[in-house]
Amino acid sequence: MQKVFGYPRSLTPKRTHYCPGCTHGIIHRLIAEAIDDLGIQEQTVGIAPVGCAVLAYEYFDVDFQEAAHGRAPAVATGIKRVHPEAIVFSYQGDGDLASIGTAEIIHAAARGENITVIFINNTVYGMTGGQMAPTTLPGQKTTTSPYGRDITKVGYPIRVCEMLATLDGPAYIERVSVHDPKHIIKAGRAIRKAFEMQIAGKGFSLVEVLSTCPTNWGLTPVKALERLKEEMIPYYPLGVFRSTEEVAKE
């Protein structure tokens, strides 16, 4: 009998600290499955962010570095330049990547640095208690936008995929979601594709994963997934924004 489903080898048995209903766990699993499928566990180095995934290194059974807030693409650059044969990925949230780390992500992308970035967008700072993120939607209430994000005062959310896709450096940029099984499977494929691009030496790849934060959104996990689908996807459309090669149809 063939085993078709099991615990990914690239995850440690450690229980995650994430809140019930949080989608970080799903995304961790998708990354681990991609690493397993591609047989790159022994050569992969991850970079953990500052954010809810700050302890990501506890959950992946691969070498890891913990970066300062927003600096993961620079750290990834350093690692990749020392070990060009290693598969290097950073795992970053929206505050980390799209606010304090905008310089680092833009320039890593512009350099075409041969690394993979998994970007988790849940429109809120989870770790520090629900403050406004660069991706917080117009009108969305957070602890630092208590009357709703007022675009006339604080401006507009940043669409990271669209912005980075204007650069010539990136090889692959896709936005995916994990609000239902169908989309989770699609997200898994995108993550795998991003790693494949790196293995092939094509350059910078980034997958933005639309994600939920039931705790800071004040919603049940199910309602949070609904919000993702109904409010986030219209603002952050899914799809491939840049690919230097035809994406193989599966």
Binding site: V54, H83, H107
Partner: protein, 353 residues
């Protein structure tokens, strides 16, 4: 071996390459630009990596990544740029990642000026960023030391898994002096902790400064402090010139030690008993030799291009057992030999300790 004339900045760069450094990440700022420019030319010749980063912040984090991955990584900057790097330096210290940071200091605070200065002494020797930590800090006094100390810096960085700083200034960086370059060395240091990909290891490696869980942070800090005590025991370096029979000892490092040496030579030619104590490691600081000299009844003059930073460490070291005078120049000006000569003479004439 052949002597060649090199600018201090070039000597640092070539010295790093000879010591096996193959990863340089930097950002332009005067007066250290010769270093990235030299590296941009030279690294491709030795199959090394040169990246002009988007900021000093990114450059130091590239160093963190590269150092954590086991590479001999270097960054250089000047005072305002070093301030920007302090975030990364604190992380490097916390995660115990070896690397070398060069500060070709200029005047501050703020944007300051381009003129040479020693006003980054506190920043370099007292940690500089957040948290309880120290860098090993070398202050070269000659072109040859630029070469020798940066090589030593890489070795010590790896021996102790600690960032090491070379603190110098615009004069030392721009001055040309003959140096003897050592041959290029192959670095074979074992780094079982480096993030290389697991490569068959049972457990993954982790480069991390987070101590958020339980007593982790206390444990990390205790470990760091034990390391610093070891460094203080083993790594203090200084030059003592004519301190044995001196009545007055000038304490100075880098550029001001050179100026002081000229003044001392003039005074000695007149038969005056003046010595020079030149710290080569600014941290760990040569406290004991100063304490011993103080106990012998010497008096001290500290010469600095700052409002007085090194002088505080000297006062702490002599601990009220000796008189400590200070001669400092501000506004990015360099004390002249004549000024130092006059100051020493005046102190000698006043007499007494």
């Amino acid at each position: 071996m052949e002597r060649v004339m090199m600018k201090g900045n070039e000597a640092l760069a070539e010295g790093a390459i000879r010591a096996g450094c193959r990863f340089f990440f930097g950002y332009p700022i005067t007066p250290q630009n010769e270093i990235p420019e030299y590296m941009a030319r030279r690294m491709p010749e030795v199959n090394g990596v040169f990246i002009q980063a988007e900021s000093e912040v990114s450059a130091i984090n590239m160093v963190y990544g590269a150092g954590g991955a086991g590479g001999r990584a270097l960054t250089s900057s000047s005072s305002p740029g070093i301030s920007l790097k302090q975030e990364g330096i604190s992380y490097l210290a916390g995660a115990q990642v070896p690397c070398v940071i060069v500060n070709v200091a200029r005047g501050g605070p703020g944007l300051g000026g381009l003129t040479p200065s020693q006003s980054d002494y506190f920043q370099a020797t007292k940690g500089g960023g957040h948290g309880d930590y120290h860098l090993i800090v070398y202050a070269p006094g000659t072109g040859q030391e630029m070469v020798d100390l940066i090589g030593l810096a890489f070795d010590k960085a790896e021996e102790y898994r600690n960032p090491v700083m070379i603190l110098t200034d615009a004069i030392m960086g721009q001055m040309m002096e003959p140096v003897i370059l050592p041959p290029i060395r192959e670095v074979t240091t074992e780094k079982p902790w480096a993030t290389t990909g697991k490569k068959g290891r049972a457990k993954p490696n982790l480069i991390n400064s987070l101590g958020i869980i339980g007593e982790d942070l206390a444990r990390i800090n205790i470990e760091l402090q034990e390391k610093y005590r070891k460094i203080e025991t083993n790594e203090i370096r200084y030059e003592a010139d004519g301190t044995g029979d001196a009545d007055l000892i000038v304490v100075a490092y880098g550029t001001t030690s050179r100026v002081a040496r000229s003044a001392i030579n003039m005074l000695r030619a007149e038969g005056k008993k003046v010595g020079l104590l030149r710290p080569i490691t600014l941290w760990p600081f040569p406290k004991q030799i100063l304490a011993d000299l103080a106990a012998q009844g010497k008096r001290f003059l500290v010469v600095e291009m700052s409002v007085g930073q090194l002088v505080e460490d000297v006062i702490l070291a002599v601990n009220d057992r000796a008189k400590v005078d200070f001669f400092g120049k501000l506004n990015g000006t360099v004390p002249t030999v004549r000024e130092v000569y006059n100051t020493i003479n005046a102190l000698l004439q006043k007499g007494g300790a």
